[in-house]
Amino acid sequence: MSPTRSISSLDWRGAGGAGGKLVLRRAFVLDPRAGIEGTYDVVIAGGEIAALADPGSADGPGEVIEAEGKQVFPAFFDPHVHLRVPGDEDEEDVETGTRAAAAGGYCGVLAMANTTPPVDTAADILALRERASDEASVPAGFLGTVTRGLEGGELTEMADLRDAGAVGFSDDGLPIANSRLMRRALQYQHLVGANIALHEEDHDLSRPAGAHAPHLGGVMHEGVVSAALGLAGVPSVAESTMIARDAALAAYEDARIHVQHLSARESVDAVAAAKEAGVRITCEATPHHLVLTDEEVRSLDSRFKMNPPLRSEDDRQALIEALRSGVIDCVATDHAPHAAEEKEVPFEEAAMGVTGLETAFAVLHSELVLPGVLDLGVLVERMSAGAAPFEFEQPSLSPGSEASVVLFDPDAEWEAGADGWESRSDNSCFAGRRLRGRVLMTVVAGQVVYRQRSFAMGVA
């Protein structure tokens, strides 16, 4: 594995800066990875956590925020977002997507390569990095595709892409159907080094009418609800069998893989078995798969259409348990903005995907932590653990660490989307939901990249 580097070394507007002095007084500070839990004055200076001082002891100069009753965590990291650049800037771009990330408490995101056209050359990566250094509110990394043009036929120039700064590889949105090509990519990883993120879906199983009618592909989880609605289903095994294949190939080639957006109990079992066998495999789950089920689809509301689909309650429980146990390494949003006209159509016609950056932590806090299903510390750890599979240092609150923190109000109640979105798109499956807990401020490498509006006014 390549040596790790700091998240802030990715391209963003604040690169090289350090920000002023900032004190978060009497905050509840929680960083389970660093073994930190308690009430402190968090002193940020020179871009670092300067000190965790006794409550009430730290003072200016610089900005001082009374944070009693508020919480401070390591800022989050999302290894799976879609910034829609190039090609679909009407849905999102680097500026709006990273603003949404900042609003969600993120100090870094990794953008997928299935754009229009796909990111499959070094020149594409260089162009995106330039945009990020001009426009990105938080550090943004870019993956290249595994196969040229996302066509699944030939490998991209992965070494060249890596040299240009690609942080990993993925054909996300599509599986790598061809086993030989998958194996070659894993072999080649020994030269290139970067991780390969996999969208696991066997199209022969997820498109029930086969190549004869690819437009009849499954649009939701196959189960009781799909049977009632007459919608073509995507069986859980379409995902889990591909995970099993790729885990076996990774083991055989001594390569490593990162499995994206787990959705099914069978997939959890496949990853758990691979980890048990020593395969170098990591994986992620999304807030929507952890909170919602296919029952939502009964409304035929296209906001609940994504790939992989929302599955059964049993699957959801398996994901939660796996997140708790660590079989699932991290939370990723799969933030997937879509234009209104792509969603304001019948369910089967609608584009797959939902936005998620701005609601991720608040949703999981409201739906899993507050009801006592998931420990707060576990969630906080999983929210930034997605940095590790891509060789980034995980944010830490230990004094001396780069200061990337989120200030969170666990008691704030708000309605998702009521004040609009930072994202250019509004296809959130949580829009209109009452949430408890809200990100007030996000700091990246000592620089304040986001202040929640009402909080900012209260402070001023």
């Binding site: 029930p208 009618a213 009632a228 035929l300 304001e344 019948p346 089967e348």
Partner: protein
């Protein structure tokens, strides 16, 4: 009832009310002038995104017999072919101020969207493989006329249940009226978890069919062979075709049409004494009249019309010219 979107939205009382009303309209069809002024001055749009003979003609004629103004839009040759979205089409047609929109779409939930985007009462005339509620209501009507009641009756629905909106609506409607329903077909064409989803029994063989009071046969499309759902149409027919040897004289035979003779149903069974297929088409007209009446008058005369023109909502014939 504001819309007819899915059988799942109805209660038994709704179905019974529509059945009674349809019975009233059946009498209209036996007159010389088969028309009542009930919906005079109302506009009904028929919007068909799929080819359809019997459903579109049935709705059109039902509207005309109720004296409504009808606009029928088919997907071919319309702005739909030019890439206009459903939402834009509804906005355009909405400019005519239709009181009702009847929509057939290849996509589940299309009728629900129209109901959200329009002020009109919406009738789902088939949305993808989801539901076809007017078919289920006309089938219930057809059976009630023969059997009096569906309470405790055993109904087998045979064929490609996976791709059938008729199966989904009919299982729900038959069960709501008290029948026990079995769906039967090849394992590849029965949806996983259908028992839990619809509350029916499942059989992969025709054994036991002799216990059925009603055999409801679904259309088997030839594409299913290319999609490898069945190895061949010949093998399908060998295992699942209903012919007269399978039927006893007391069993009733139904099919939503159009029939593939010699595939799911033999010609002699279709034309034989068990068959209710022609009655189903007749029922379709009066049931669709009853549906439009229910949605556009709330099942009763509107207050503004009661005072001004007592004749308007009364299903009595237009008087023949003297």
């Amino acid at each position: 009832m504001r819309h007819l979107l899915a059988i799942g939205d109805l209660e038994r009382g709704d179905i019974e009310r529509i059945m009674e009303r349809a019975e009233g309209f059946a009498e209209v069809g036996r007159r010389d002038i088969k028309k009542v002024p009930t919906l005079r001055g109302r506009t009904i749009v028929n919007l068909f995104y799929e080819s359809s003979t019997r459903t579109s003609s049935s709705f059109e004629l039902a509207a005309k017999r109720l004296s409504a103004d009808v606009v029928s839009v088919k997907s071919t040759g319309s702005s739909v072919d030019k890439g206009e979205s459903l939402k834009d089409t509804i906005a355009t047609l909405g400019a005519y101020g239709p009181e009702a929109i009847v929509i057939r779409s290849p996509h589940a939930g299309a009728a629900d969207l129209v109901a959200r985007w329009s002020d009109a009462a919406v009738v789902n005339a088939g949305d993808g493989k989801h539901e076809h509620p007017s078919q289920a209501l006309l089938d219930v009507y057809t059976l009630l006329r023969r059997l009096g009641s569906l309470e405790g009756k055993r109904i087998w629905i045979v064929g490609d249940v996976l791709h059938s909106r008729v199966a989904r609506s009919n299982v729900l409607a038959f069960r709501m009226m008290g029948a026990e329903v079995t769906v039967c077909g090849p394992p590849t064409l029965i949806p996983r978890d259908v028992e839990a989803a619809l509350g029916c029994r499942v059989s992969f063989e025709l054994d036991g069919l002799e216990g059925a009071d009603v055999v409801y046969v679904l259309r088997m499309q030839r594409e299913r062979m290319r999609e490898s759902f069945v190895p061949s149409i010949r093998e399908y027919a060998a295992n699942y075709q209903i012919d007269s040897r399978r039927l006893s004289p007391r069993q009733l035979l139904m099919h939503p049409g159009p029939v593939n003779r010699g595939v799911e149903l033999s010609g002699e069974a279709l034309d034989g004494p068990n068959s209710l297929v022609t009655e189903q088409v007749e029922s379709g007209l009066v049931v669709r009249m009853a549906i439009l009446y229910e949605l556009l008058t709330g099942g009763r005369p509107r207050a503004d019309e009661r005072s001004g023109d007592p004749d308007v909502t009364d299903p009595t014939p237009i008087r023949e010219p003297a």
